[in-house]
């Protein structure tokens, strides 16, 4: 009950401060299982994209939250778990070589690549519990939609950083889940790094046309394609 009230209060606050407008440019707000991936510029990103979704989607979509930042105080932990229903992830992001679970094809054109790629179920089963992606995989297995920030950390430049491999691995393990790119606009002006008080500026989240992992597509081309899809929404 308290969480629900807090949710409404936060929603009202975000709307008054930023307008948090959702622009469904490439796909409608459908209640199917989706992975939304967006650019990451401030800690308020997850609140922004959460507030931009319509109410029916908000209850089935779980945003990703960095465990080290969002569990620092009991209040933050309560907000992210009770109000946003977020998934905590370790921010020591899995680098591709050391984080890949055993049994998956090694990335690269070496002859160690087996001729048939493992099935999605095999990939999922081979995932160790300590893998940073494990909480996301469990959420997807139970049918939730998730919101991830493939850059891994906040970006302070103009363009998003190159995407980490999490998106690729999730796309391999869940081929039926729709991948929706999103661009969050203007948030870095609301609370820049190091400031506390937000400035009211109109922000929007633009959702683009879904992309899909082509059969046989390699990791780096897919991630670059995903990054370009997100950047293209900036001009819309």
């Amino acid at each position: 009950m308290l969480a629900k009230l807090m949710g409404y209060f936060l929603l009202g606050l975000v709307r008054v401060l930023t307008g948090s407008q959702a622009r469904w440019y490439g796909c409608p707000p459908k209640a199917e299982q989706r992975i939304y991936f967006a650019n990451h510029q401030s800690h308020a990103d997850l609140v922004m994209i959460w507030a931009a979704l319509p109410e029916e989607l908000r209850s089935i979509t779980r945003p990703i939250a960095a465990r080290d930042y969002w569990t620092k105080s009991p209040f933050r932990q309560w907000i992210t778990s009770a109000v946003f229903n977020a998934i905590y992830v370790e921010r020591q992001a899995a680098p591709p070589a050391t984080g890949a679970p055993p049994g998956t094809p090694e990335p690269g054109p070496t002859p160690a690549v087996p001729s048939i790629p493992p099935s999605p179920e095999a990939l999922r089963a081979a995932l160790p519990d300590t893998d940073p992606l494990a909480p996301l995989v469990r959420a997807l297995e139970s049918g939730d939609s998730i919101i991830i920030f493939p850059e891994g950390t906040r970006c302070h430049g103009d363009d998003p950083q190159p995407f980490k491999s999490g998106l690729f691995r999730l796309a391999q393990m869940f081929p039926h889940v729709v991948l929706v790119p999103a661009w969050i606009n203007n948030v870095q002006r609301v609370i820049p790094k190091g400031e506390v008080v937000p400035v009211p500026i109109l922000c929007s989240v633009t959702f683009g046309a879904p992309i899909a992992l082509e059969p046989g597509e390699e990791r780096r081309p897919f991630l670059d394609r995903a990054r370009r899809a997100v950047m293209a929404l900036r001009e819309v």
Partner: protein
């Protein structure tokens, strides 16, 4: 009829005024609805689409008018303080839109926080407590200096003049301009009962909005060469003069609800309409500079609605000119 109206108390008179306004709006809405029921002759696609466009424009105009009338009515019903708070909220959202399209940098963050959360409330508190002399100079004198100082202390000289100037402009138009509407509400004329300010606000809004609507409609019906096509495709001297004249006439006709004689009312209304319509042109130039057509989200919002600032900017320019002319003329 005249004797009956004069015998009512101020509150009842204002209530009657709102009744008239809502009645007229209802008539227009009904007329628009009936017109939309008219059948379209088959095979004439051009006429059909043009009629649809006209209907949409009329509906947008009616929606804006209903929204403004309702906002004013709510403000009046809830009393002076609530009206001031209401206008403070409008100024807040208008300033938010303005700042979104201004090129601020990291170093402006503290100044922006001050602008939204200190300057705006303070200005409206000064209005609410009727410190008219202080409220007139607070932003142009004190804030004009204070905010650039905060920006300078943030150690970022890149495009400093541009950023400070745009911030000051935004505060002048959205906060200073908007705060003069509740100030009109709270202005007390000697020899008149308090609460007559509501009539002045109504007089101002009706005159300025009539001027804008007439200018817009005449500009469409009788297109001439635009004066400054790079700034505005639709601003022409002919339709502008006609709009100002009609606005002035409407103001002159309304002199009986104001403490002006008819000649004075006509003059004041002409002044207010000139200020409002030229201010609207200036805002168009600002928008063109940023490359957008409306202050709302890059003009492409999901709902298709224009921004709040687009609707109230004429009022934001007309209100200070009108308020200070009234004060000077009557020596208040």
């Amino acid at each position: 009829m005249n004797a009956f109206l004069r015998s009512l108390t101020t509150t009842q008179q204002i209530g009657a005024l709102f009744l008239v306004v809502f009645g007229v709006l209802s008539l227009f809405t009904l007329w628009g609805f009936v017109r939309s029921l008219r059948g379209v002759p088959d095979g004439d696609a051009d006429a059909a689409s043009e009629r649809k466009a006209k209907a949409r424009r009329l509906r947008a105009l009616l929606q804006t008018s209903w929204a403004m009338a309702t906002v004013f009515w709510v403000g009046w019903v809830l009393g002076d303080t609530a009206a001031t708070v209401l206008f403070a909220l409008v100024a807040f959202f208008a300033l938010r839109e303005f700042i979104t399209l201004s090129p601020t940098r990291r170093g402006d963050h503290r100044s922006l926080v001050l602008a939204f959360f200190v300057v705006l409330p303070l200005q409206f508190v000064l209005v609410g407590t009727r410190h008219f002399d202080l409220f007139t100079v607070f932003i142009p004198v004190y804030v004009f200096l204070a905010l650039p100082v905060v920006s300078a202390l943030a150690n970022d000289p890149q495009r400093f003049l541009e950023r400070s100037a745009k911030l000051q402009w935004g505060i002048m138009v959205c906060v200073y301009g908007m705060s003069h509407v509740p100030a009109l509400l709270l202005l007390d004329f000697p020899g008149q009962e308090p609460g007559r300010g509501a009539f002045l606000v109504f007089y101002l809004v009706l005159a300025v909005q009539t001027c804008m609507v007439v200018q817009h409609l005449l500009g469409r019906r009788f297109p001439h060469q635009p004066v400054a096509p790079a700034v505005s495709q639709s601003f022409q001297w002919a339709s502008w003069l006609a709009g100002v004249a009609v606005g002035g006439l409407v103001g002159g006709l309304l002199s009986f609800i104001t403490p002006f004689k008819p000649g004075q009312a006509l003059g004041m209304a002409l002044l207010a309409c000139t200020a409002g319509s030229l201010g609207h042109l200036v805002m168009k130039a600002l928008k063109r500079d940023r490359g957008v057509t409306s202050w709302g989200m890059q003009g492409q919002s999901v709902t298709g609605a224009g921004g709040l600032l687009d609707r109230v900017d004429a009022l934001c320019f007309a209100a200070p000119v009108f308020f200070h002319s009234v004060r000077w003329y009557f020596g208040l």
